[in-house]
């Protein structure tokens, strides 16, 4: 049984790229979506072991998603990574303050993501 990781990112190419990095780690299934709304719909349908989200998205922003996840007893313990870019430190800090577990600054190396995934998913 592979563990499920939710990836929320509105840029298609970035999303596919991150999904490829995530799935390159054995034992992980990546489930991707392009919007916060879709993420809200997906949350009750799967058991996600980890969530990776972008901040700047069109419908609800990533911070609102983090807030939702972290306030909800069903999901609050799920580790959550923020993907951010250089220059958006305020948004990043707010995300961390809202309870995000880790943040990754684009561009990041597949190795650093893999290491974080292994650590939080307790993979060998």
């Amino acid at each position: 049984m592979r563990v499920k990781v939710l990836i929320v990112e509105d840029s298609k190419a970035s999303r596919e790229y991150i999904a490829a990095m995530v799935e390159a780690v054995e034992g992980i299934e990546a489930i991707v979506t392009s919007s916060g709304f879709e993420a809200l719909k997906l949350l009750p349908r799967h058991r996600f072991e980890l969530i990776i989200t972008d901040i700047n998205m069109p419908d609800i922003n990533g911070l609102e998603l983090i807030n939702f996840v972290k306030k909800n007893p069903n999901y609050r313990d799920v580790p959550l990574f923020i993907i951010t870019t250089e220059g958006r430190e305020q948004d990043r800090d707010r995300g961390m303050a809202l309870g995000a577990t880790e943040y990754l600054v684009k561009p990041f190396l597949p190795g650093s993501l893999e290491e974080l995934l292994r650590r939080y998913l307790k993979l060998p």
Binding site: Y17, G36, P44, D54, N56, N61, E64, E86, Q90, P107
Partner: protein
């Protein structure tokens, strides 16, 4: 990081999409120069730059990422109100877009040119230097808003800024709470947003942290209302929304508030004292006033937009461009073009041969054009583009297909499978009752199924062709952006009119059209249109009109590029053609105005190099003609002295499947693409005249070059008492091809010939006529060239 070529293609595809969206939004901003920019629009552009930065960073495209970073920073300052969007900033953004396109073109073919890298560095430095330091504000108006700090912590910097702006302007703020079913909350929210939008600004949408049961979800919308509370309530009737006002405490002192208002408000908006803001009832009055002020701004802007290039030009020639230049970086109309090397941008691979490979590799097997492109007469790969202009050709081969169209296709496949099952059943029963003579009923049933199959297959073919169609407006939009720049460079005043952008053409044709169209428009602006002074002297309006219109006519699309300029001086054309030895004196004597005008399409007519690098009438129109010929298109020119010039481009709707005329010569069969057939004549041998050892026909007073196909292919000629002459035309050239028989029309898919056959002149490929007969397809462009080459040798 090595993303690999598939990843690179994905990157290029998405970056192209982002740039397209960016360009569209910038165009809107450009058109509304002088008005207060719509915050949503600026935020949209910011988001595009932000996505581009993240995307290019992730894919290791450092130069794009660096420039996107600079652009994003500038936009961030703009959207957070730290910088006012003036002409300088807007010009910088438009220039950055140009640079992005050039960068992406290089990225797509995996190269990095030094001049472009330098340009990126210059531009990044310039973007960073733009703007004044932020207005210092002693008190944050947001502190006066009574809002759960928890809620505030979820806002992005931008949302916080919008909220601050709303508080500062004294807009009444509301919390709109609504609960929906989890399965379709997005529809409910979309409805709610649609109702709220006309009434004000939705600042943030927060999913409520409180779980709304197992199947429900609640949202809090933070809303800045331009309307009254009653209007708001009325507007939300029938939705699950509950309204509650957010309280804003009064500002510290009255005077401070006024000072604050003066310091930060743009001059156009109403400057009311903030003391009224605190009472939630006050907005009634404010809302009305505000609206009035807004409408005023809009009208002013609209008037202004009637003369956009006028003031833009005046300012640009001395103002922003130079002001922006730190340390004497190359700038100014000519210089601005320099960093982009022509060779770097001309074709995806930079050389004619390679560009052929690109076309073939990218487009599958059915393209005839690729063969045509190899002819060295084209010169460089796509010289239709004046140096320095970034190609508008998009870098990806993807087509976005409407999901409805795809569903239709899938349904059709389902129906085909049903028919197949029926046919299978019939075959089975025929096999089992093999001994029994097949009944008439069986035959009827079989015939019915076959007819159904045929109909469905036709529909499927049509549907697939439709999926390749894109609106020609995609190219028009890109051109509109360039017109401003060209206009400025040429020192003209021009109104650019676009029409028929919704007309659809095959994606490949649309792609290939951008360069020729850009060339024609550039010619219209550079040479067609007179200077404002000359126009006034001629009793014309100061501003010239350059129009680009598309119209569907049956299986063809006609695109018109017209101007209301001085028209083409045919005597000057005659002179140039004579000086260049393109025609003899005796030929010139026989030529009418129309024929003289058509001389501008001759290779070698261009006066570009001799007169000046940029100007000269008819710059490389032969190349435009060639480009169109490759698309089986026809170009015609109309011009009247003093009234203007119009070029008409007639193009087939698609290249993938073409209709062909099947003809017979000396017992052999050939297919002629119907889109290049103009008419068919029946001609008796006595009608054929010989002029200077060349056979010609007289066609409605004009001389038509005549070619016997049998002679061309060295086939034994049969004596006949009448010929069928297929009159073909590509671009503005015409040729009569004599054949023995006409067999009718048929849809064909041309397959390229391999090996030695590839170099046979006059043949573009082969096709299967369905009855297992493979016939050769004539290459009309090559035949025309052959026919006219003889004529030119004669001249």
């Amino acid at each position: 990081m090595n993303p690999g070529s598939k990843a690179l293609a994905e990157f290029v595809a998405e970056a192209t999409e982002i740039l397209d969206a960016l360009g569209k939004d910038l165009l809107v901003l450009d058109e509304r120069r002088g008005q207060e920019a719509d915050p949503e629009l600026v935020n949209g552009i910011f988001r595009a730059a932000h996505s581009l930065k993240g995307l290019s960073g992730l894919f290791g495209q450092e130069r794009i990422s660096r420039l996107a970073h600079g652009t994003e920073d500038l936009l961030d300052r703009l959207r957070l109100g730290r910088l006012h969007l003036d002409d300088t900033a807007l010009d910088a953004l438009i220039e950055a877009l140009d640079a992005f396109q050039a960068l992406l073109a290089e990225a797509a073919r995996g190269s990095e040119s030094e001049p472009l890298t330098r340009r990126v560095e210059d531009m990044t430095a310039r973007l960073a230097g733009l703007g004044s330091p932020p207005v210092s504000v002693d008190e944050d108006p947001l502190d006066r808003l009574e809002l759960d700090p928890q809620v505030r912590s979820v806002f992005t910097e931008y949302e916080e800024h919008r909220l601050r702006e709303n508080v500062r302007r004294g807009v009444s703020l509301w919390r709109v709470r609504a609960a929906f079913d989890l399965s379709d909350f997005d529809k409910g929210l979309a409805d709610l947003n649609a109702r709220l939008k006309p009434l004000g600004e939705v600042i943030s949408t927060l999913p409520s942290a409180r779980p709304g049961g197992t199947h429900g979800i609640a949202f809090d919308l933070i809303f800045g209302a331009q309307a009254t509370g009653e209007a708001l309530e009325a507007g939300l009737k029938g939705t699950p929304a509950e309204l509650s006002p957010l309280v804003v405490r009064p500002a510290a002192t009255h005077a401070a508030a006024q000072a604050l208002a003066r310091a930060v408000e743009p001059p156009a908006s109403t400057r009311a004292t903030l003391s009224r803001v605190d009472a939630p009832a006050a907005p009634v009055k404010r809302g009305g006033k505000k609206k009035g002020a807004r409408a005023g701004t809009t009208t002013k802007g609209a008037q202004k937009s009637l003369l956009p290039s006028t003031d833009a030009e005046g300012a640009d020639s001395s103002g922003p461009g130079d002001a922006l230049t730190p340390s004497g970086a190359p700038r100014g109309p000519g210089d601005a073009l320099v960093p982009v090397t022509p060779s770097g941008l001309q074709s995806p691979a930079g050389s004619p041969g390679a560009s052929v490979a690109y076309l073939q590799g990218a487009g599958g097997t059915q393209r005839v054009r690729a063969v045509v492109m190899e002819t060295p007469s084209t010169g460089t790969a796509s010289p239709a583009r004046p140096e320095g202009d970034t190609s508008l050709r998009s870098l990806t081969q993807t087509v976005r297909v409407d999901i409805g169209r795809l569903d239709g296709l899938i349904n059709m496949v389902g129906e085909l499978l049903l028919i197949k099952a029926n046919l299978q059943r019939l075959a089975e029963s025929a096999r089992q009752d093999g001994a029994v003579a097949l009944s008439k009923l069986f035959g009827q049933e079989l015939a019915r199924e076959t007819r159904g199959l045929e109909r469905k297959l036709e529909a499927l073919q049509e549907g697939l062709l439709e999926a390749r169609m894109v609106p020609v407006g995609q190219v028009f939009d890109k051109l509109a952006r360039l017109v401003r720049r060209i206009t400025r460079e040429a020192g003209k005043e021009i109104e650019f009119v676009i029409g028929g952008g919704e007309v659809e053409l095959d994606k490949l044709i649309v792609e290939e059209l951008s360069d020729p169209l850009m060339h024609l428009i550039r010619n219209a602006i550079d040479h067609g249109v007179e200077s404002p002074e000359a126009r006034l002297a001629a009793g014309k309006p100061r501003r010239a009109v350059v129009a680009l219109r598309a119209e569907q006519k049956g299986n063809h699309v006609v695109i018109e590029v017209s101007d209301d300029g001085a028209g083409i001086d045919e005597m000057r054309v005659r002179e140039v053609a004579l000086t260049r030895g393109l025609i003899t004196f005796s030929q010139a004597q026989e030529m009418g105005r129309r024929e003289l005008l058509n001389l501008i399409f001759l290779p070698g007519f261009s006066t570009a190099r001799s007169v000046s690098e940029l100007s000269g009438r008819g710059v490389g129109l032969d190349v435009v003609k060639n480009n169109l010929g490759n698309l089986s298109g026809i170009i015609d020119v109309w011009s009247e002295r003093g009234k203007g010039t119009a070029f008409h481009l007639t193009l087939p709707v698609t290249l993938a499947i073409i209709r062909a005329l099947v003809v017979g010569v000396s017992g052999r069969t050939y297919a002629v693409p119907l889109n290049s057939v103009l008419e068919i004549l029946s001609v008796q041998p006595k009608d054929i005249r010989t002029v200077e050892r060349r056979e010609v026909l007289d066609l409605r007073g004009q001389t038509l070059p005549f070619m016997r196909l049998a002679r061309m292919f060295a086939l034994p000629e049969r004596p006949v008492n009448r010929y069928f002459v297929v009159v073909v035309g590509l671009a503005q050239e015409r040729l009569g091809i004599a054949v023995d028989e006409l067999h009718g029309q048929q849809d064909i898919v041309t397959k390229p010939l391999g090996g030695r056959l590839q170099s046979v002149r006059g043949i573009s490929g082969a096709t299967d006529l369905g009855n297992r007969r493979t016939v050769l397809v004539l290459d009309v462009a090559a035949l025309l060239e052959e026919g006219l080459a003889v004529e030119r040798r004669r001249a």
